[in-house]
Each structure stands twice: as C-alpha cells, then as structure tokens.
C-alpha cells in the first residue's frame, strides 16, 4: 500500500493506493492515523480512490481508527470508494458507520 498526505485547512487528507491487507496495509493505515493524531490533526479524510482491495483485517483497522479518532473528539471520513470497496462496506454494514463523500470538496465541507 502507498500513501500520500496533505493538509487542507484543518483536515488531514490521507490518500491511499494499493491493497489494505493483513500484515502490511493494515499496519500502515494504523501508523498513518496515529501519526496524524500525534500531530494534532484530528479531522481525517481517507481517500480510497486508488485502493484495489481491502480484506477483513484492513476493514477492521479502519474501524479501529474510526473509534480511536472519535474518542479523541475528531472525525474520520472516507472519500471516493471504488465499486468493490463500496460493495464490501455494504455487506459488512459498515456503510452505516462511515460518512462517505464523493469528492474532495464535499469531503472538506463535511468537516465544517
């Protein structure tokens, strides 16, 4: 999994690509979110447009990150799901947990 980070106003955008899977992508995701919180960036927008696969460990880590950020008083939202990732969020019913936005403008506005 690869990642790029940028901050727009008070929102940390984490752009991911590749696979969020057990043993690598899931660990990296946790590190990216923990690092953001340590830097005081509690509003996190995870851009999944380039993510090709997310296994149960990856989705579990996403849930854990959501819980951690929420407990810190921040917000974690998802941006640009591919059709397959959208399918997975629906079958796991996590689509009811995450706020999902279609583009960056919508994503940034959702934190205001």
């Amino acid at each position: 999994m690869k990642s790029e980070i940028r901050d727009v106003d008070d929102v940390r955008i984490i752009e991911l690509s590749g696979k969020i899977t057990i043993g690598s992508g899931d660990v990296k995701l946790r590190e990216l979110v923990d690092g953001s919180l340590e830097e005081g960036q509690n509003n996190i927008l995870i851009d999944l447009a380039g993510v090709t696969a997310i296994d149960s460990s990856g989705i579990g880590e996403m849930v854990a990150c959501y819980t951690t950020v929420t407990k810190r008083g921040g917000q974690l939202k998802l941006l640009r799901l591919s059709p397959k990732i959208n399918d997975i969020l629906h079958v796991t019913q996590l689509i009811t947990v995450f706020d999902v936005l279609d583009n960056v403008q919508e994503g940034l506005a959702a934190f205001k």
Partner: protein, 163 residues
C-alpha cells in the same frame, strides 16, 4: 516460504480437470500473496470474469489469513495447505491448517449492532458473502479445513443486497 507440489498429501482434491493447483506454504502473511498470484493465474487460464476472480481471491485471502493467524498462530514451522480446482463451471478451494481447530458456534455475526465496531472477526463472514458455499471441518491432525465453492457468474451477496 515454500511452495511445492505434494502428491503425497493425504486428502487432496482429485485433479480430474486440467486446472488444478496445490500449494504448501509456511505460515507467513507474505505468503498470502503467493496463493493469490497462483489463483489469479488459474482464474485467467479458466477465463473467469474479473468479478468472479476478484471475489474468489478475496475469499482465499481470508481463509489463508485465518489459517496463518488463528490456526497456526503464525508459527512458520507450521504449514498451510491449499488446493484449487476448476470443474464444471465452478471453482473449489480447500485450505487446511495445522492448528487445534475452533468452535464455529462461538463466532459472532459481525453485522450484529453489538459487534459492528469490533476491529476483528469478519474473516468467515467475508468468505460466506463472496462464495456460494463454505464448509468447515476438522483435519485428521486436528487442524481446520475450510472448503469453499463459487459457481462462475454467481452474484455476490453484495450485488443481491443492492437490488
């Protein structure tokens, strides 16, 4: 990492078709990529659609990850044995670990509101969503065997849910 043919394996899926693979992998997460690559190659050879291949590979990854993590406790000396077979318009996958087995009845439904925010426990759910049939049994040595089938062209439950 080990990947080899093992014709002496005691309970192989019969190789009565031209598309059959048998892998023996040590219990390391990076070896999931080897299993995935082998299955993708087989799916391409069989002319599967992209959707079929994607969900079959997703289920394989879950079964293999469970065997490594929960079955073999990531002990690299223990192996995960994987068979793939394509026959009569369906793909069959068999994954066996060398663990101590588990009680399927103790695995909660991860979509239950009380479990929705748990960070783990979705692997078997993934398999059942994306394969037509999933069955668990005990290997002769006490480990877990999961056998999964997907009929080609079958809808995933996600497609059904969206209707």
């Amino acid at each position: 990492m080990r990947a080899r043919s093992d014709p002496s394996h005691p309970t192989p899926i019969p190789a009565d078709g031209p598309l059959h693979a048998h892998l023996v992998l040590s219990s390391r997460f990076e070896n999931i990529e080897i299993a995935e690559r082998a299955l993708i190659d087989l799916c391409e050879d069989a002319g599967f659609s992209g959707d079929d291949s994607y969900w079959i590979v997703t289920a394989l990854r879950e079964a293999t990850a469970n065997a490594i993590r929960h079955g073999n406790k990531q002990d690299p000396e223990k192996t995960v044995i994987i068979d793939f077979r394509v026959h009569s318009g369906e793909v069959r996958i068999r994954v066996e670990d060398q663990g101590e087995g588990f009680d399927l009845d103790t695995v909660p439904d991860p979509t239950d509101p009380g479990y929705l925010l748990r960070p783990s426990g979705r692997g078997i759910f993934y398999m059942r969503q994306f394969m037509t049939r999933v069955e668990f049994s005990r290997a002769p040595g006490g480990g877990t065997v999961v056998e999964m089938t997907r009929r080609l062209g079958a809808e995933t439950r996600s497609s059904i849910n969206e209707e």
